[in-house]
Amino acid sequence: MLTAAIRKAFAEGQDSAAFTLDVQFEAAAGVTALYGPSGSGKTLTLDMIAGFAQAEAGRILLDDRILFDSGARVNLRPQERACGYVFQNHALFPHMTLRENLAFAAQGLPRLERHRRIAEQLDRFKLTALAGRLPHQLSGGEKQRGSIARALLASPRAVLLDEPARGLDFALRADFHELVQQMRASLEIPILLVTHDLEECFALADRMLIYEAGRIVHRGAVSELRSSPGTAAVARLMGGFNVYAAEVLALDPGRQSSRVRLLDTELDGPHLPGCFLGDQISLCARPEELRVANSPGKNRIRVDLVRTKERAQLVDADFGSELLVSVSRERWAEVSEAGPKAGWWVEIPAAALRPLSSAPAPR
């Protein structure tokens, strides 16, 4: 278990605005993603946990050890923190072979044990054949495996990954995801993953800390955040949601339904506990849950196609005003043929609409 409460203020610099990092969180065994835009303090948080940067105030605990405590004036050196750090550029020592890089991490072990552990680790990460190569003779994916293998060899009690998949192509990214999942399965330690790739959070993380401007604006289990982001701000931040302003027109708690007006159209809405007639509320819906049609119908809104983007399995059709729809390629082939003549409608099923609290995102 990693517990961190850290604060540090940076004065306005020559080419940087004033910035304050102020976060508290706990990370249990498993993958915790630190998600947010660049410059929101994610990497700085990792650096403070690893001991590369010092917080002004706060406390960092890893299991039963105090890594940092401003009150008690404890500030362990990076060497003593047992945090495995995986750098964006891998930071394999360029003048050492892969084997020597691993040996560097296993220095504390007795000779025989060291050789055994290195051989084991090379094997586990499918690097045995490459052990004699220098880092510049390795591919991006191999370097990545090497740097993770090296970090784990030092028996860390937490692993810190700083945007490790940045700049990797699709296939390597998949390899990397597999690697993290293996790591998560085999190690009962907190793994912190800094990323600004939402897909990566969904694929790898158990929990998410959503960063914005030096604060954690929302947190929770990924599965929960995914189905109900809670607030409009989080829904927007996380992306992948259409967010609507709506007015409550009718409530029918008995049938667990409602009528709402959104985008100037009256629609069937979901059960809205705690709402009153006439309330202005926020609702969200995931693009995969909306449907495209070529004729009017229940809960359908007449729209114009703005643009489309093709992905591997899906087509993202953007109909403007928060009407992004993701449909399968087959379905898209059907509707896009008729679309230009018959016109476009987007259907928002009542079950797809989820109420959001309109309150500002909690800290």
Binding site: P78, Q79, Y85, F93, G108
Partner: protein, 224 residues
């Protein structure tokens, strides 16, 4: 008339000694300036560059004051070894060291500061002590520019004149280095000796500068 090669041999020996001493002190100072923040860092920074700017005779004067027979260091040396420190080859080494250090500190510091911080951070997070980090990571990564600076420092020590003359003197067969011997030969009209020494020193220096450039250039290669 055969030419006296002693001054050249002495010069090479003194330069080798001075380079060795200044390499140790210079890289240590460079590491200090590159990695640590402490009070008086800027003063130290300026002090290490000073020998580059001061007239050699001024430098020699300070050295005389510092290690002369009446100074604390000079008397301590004499008490231990039984002979004065000034006007010996050792004094010439000290003068040359002082001349070589600024070059080494400046280049080594730049080389150490140029190392990607991620390497040192990685080393620390893997549990390596600062000492091990320096020997296994920082120094190997900065070895080319440091080697180039060392070569230049050797060339520089080879040619020191003013400071050496001030504290080691011009004692033929004992403290007369090549640079001083050339001056002596010109003064006494021995144009053959001066010409030969000048040519040898020039060739040596050119070779060293060429070597240093080669070391410097390959730094940007694939390995680093």
């Amino acid at each position: 008339m055969s030419i006296d090669w002693f001054p050249l041999r002495l010069s090479l020996e003194v330069a080798a000694g001075a380079t060795a001493v200044s390499l140790v002190i210079g890289v240590w100072l460079a590491w200090l300036l590159a990695n640590k923040s402490f009070r008086g860092k800027e003063v130290l920074d300026a002090l290490t560059a000073l020998p580059l700017a001061l007239p050699p005779t001024v430098l020699g004067y300070y050295l005389l004051v510092l290690i002369g027979r009446s100074s604390v260091i000079g008397r301590a040396w004499e008490a231990v070894t039984g002979a004065p420190l000034v006007f010996t080859w050792r004094a010439a080494v000290i003068a040359s060291t002082l001349h070589a250090i600024p070059l080494l500190v400046k280049s080594s510091r730049a080389a150490l500061e140029n190392i990607d911080r991620a390497f040192e951070r990685a080393g620390r997070s893997l549990g390596a002590s600062e000492w091990r980090l320096f020997w296994r990571v920082s120094l190997p990564l900065a070895r080319r520019p440091i080697a180039a600076a060392t070569a230049l420092a050797f060339a520089r020590s080879l040619g020191d004149f003013g400071a050496t003359l001030m504290i080691a003197g011009n004692i033929p067969g004992r403290t007369q280095t090549a640079a001083i011997a050339i001056y002596d030969a010109v003064e006494s009209g021995d144009s053959r000796t001066s010409l030969i020494l000048v040519l040898v020193i020039s060739a040596l220096t050119a070779l060293i500068v060429f070597l240093a450039n080669r070391l410097e250039q390959r730094r940007g290669g694939a390995v680093l």
